[in-house]
Symmetry: C2
Subunit: 268 residues, 2 copies
């Protein structure tokens, strides 16, 4: 399972404050804690107004890179901000995100190919409609995206497909739509990764982390292999170890038993 740490995101109030105030220590602490918990990437989103986003994003990345080596997932919809960030990242980053909007594909794919980045591909067409309702809409958006990545000779295993998980609190079929969609994506694009933000699924309901980790167990069984999560959530991590154990993905139960010795407090 590839974990993308979700916490350094300026759409969260405390992070935004830290960005505005240039509170380095606050950001460093979160970065260190997520890296120690085993995040494979740290998502970094400045979340500030376009006129200062580039500057804030650069400051955030430099602050994070001053304490950890974890690769960065550059989270922005502004090509110029991403291009500036690409100049200063030390490891090959992930880009968050593209979708079936042709204008964005034309902007993003050249530098994704050139820098050999991984990229999160949302299963929607931003230029056409909002959140897709059906699995078909999602698959059509992915078809557009992969037609373009193939043209640019970007390998499928560089692409992390986000199936766009909806809230089960507002639509009780949201879980099944996600699971069916993950199965369909796994079959259509066997070499691509399937990632997704976990937190949408539980929006508006009590005990959200319980729903999120149960969702991850089921999504993992259907083919999800990456997630945007809080890697310090021990209950999520232990539940994932048990899931991989049960799905035959843990030779001689070694990962599980080793992690249990450490009380599942770190991803190995």
């Amino acid at each position: 399972m590839i974990f993308i740490g979700e916490k350094i995101n300026g759409t969260r109030k405390k992070i935004k404050e830290a960005v505005i105030e240039r509170n380095e220590l606050y950001i460093m602490d979160i970065a260190k804690s997520q890296a120690e918990s085993g995040a494979d990437y740290l998502d970094i989103n400045a979340g500030t107004d376009p006129d200062r986003e580039t500057e804030d994003l650069i400051w955030l990345i430099e602050t994070v890179q001053s304490v950890v080596d974890t690769p960065i997932c550059i989270d922005s919809s502004t090509p110029s901000a991403i291009k500036a960030a690409l100049e200063i990242v030390r490891e090959i980053p992930m880009i968050n995100s593209i979708n079936a909007d042709m204008e964005r594909l034309d902007d993003f794919l050249p530098f994704i190919k050139e820098k050999n980045c991984e990229v999160i591909a949302l299963a929607l067409d931003e230029s056409k409609s909002g959140m897709p309702k059906t699995i078909d809409e999602r698959m059509q958006a992915l078809e557009v995206i992969f037609k373009e990545t193939h043209k640019k000779e970007i390998d499928d295993d560089k692409v992390f497909i986000d199936p766009l998980i909806m809230a089960v609190g507002t639509d009780q079929s949201a879980g099944n739509i996600a699971f069916d969609c993950i199965r369909e994506i796994r079959s259509a694009y066997p070499d691509a990764h399937i990632a997704g933000g976990l937190s949408n699924i539980s929006f508006g309901l009590p005990n959200r982390s319980l729903i999120n980790r149960t969702f991850l167990t089921l999504a993992r069984a259907f083919g999800m292999d990456s997630a945007v999560v809080n890697p310090s959530d021990v209950e999520l991590i232990e539940s994932l170890y048990a899931t991989d154990l049960l799905l035959g993905k843990d030779r001689f139960c070694r990962k599980y038993t080793n992690a249990a010795k450490d009380s599942f407090s770190k991803k190995k």
Copy 2:
């Protein structure tokens, strides 16, 4: 989900002692606690020598029935003990268990039909071999069993199939075998229930309850609808509520949100 409470079982040391000493209060407490936690059946197994099993089983059932109304799951391999128990149970009981052994089927099916009991059917042939290794062996045993239950006109929905879950600690494919087997049973016998003891899966490994509840989440997704469990295990219950919510089995999320209000301490 239909829960069969597992705790009143004489193969457990403390229960055996309570049986020998006729410690009524100890048994009553366990029965009440499981009933309050929402057990649909209470499994009762005397676990004593054949020469005293009937007497012990009767004492256990009468002790349990003096404090709760929950139907009993009579757990014995001795037809005479089961027949004696059938005379004193107040609710229609479940019988634990039959398998593809013809002698046992001939003994058990007539009274199962006559008393309209539910019955646990192990996917093995006790007369032929030990624990089945493959899914095919299990399906063959079930074929024998259903041929006989159909002859006796016992409805499939009276049968709780136990797919015989093995320990993932000794065979890392045990989880996948169980899931594939559950899927195959669900497709071959759509009206039958699929039950199973959870505890085998985690045998020999640390944090067993974590593995058990993760297994139940996955098994539920593939079609298991009943389990022999400790219904007072709050983490198991909350994880099952979240599973049903995500699998679209909880209209308007009502069961989940109500249970969350009660901190998932009771099955509703």
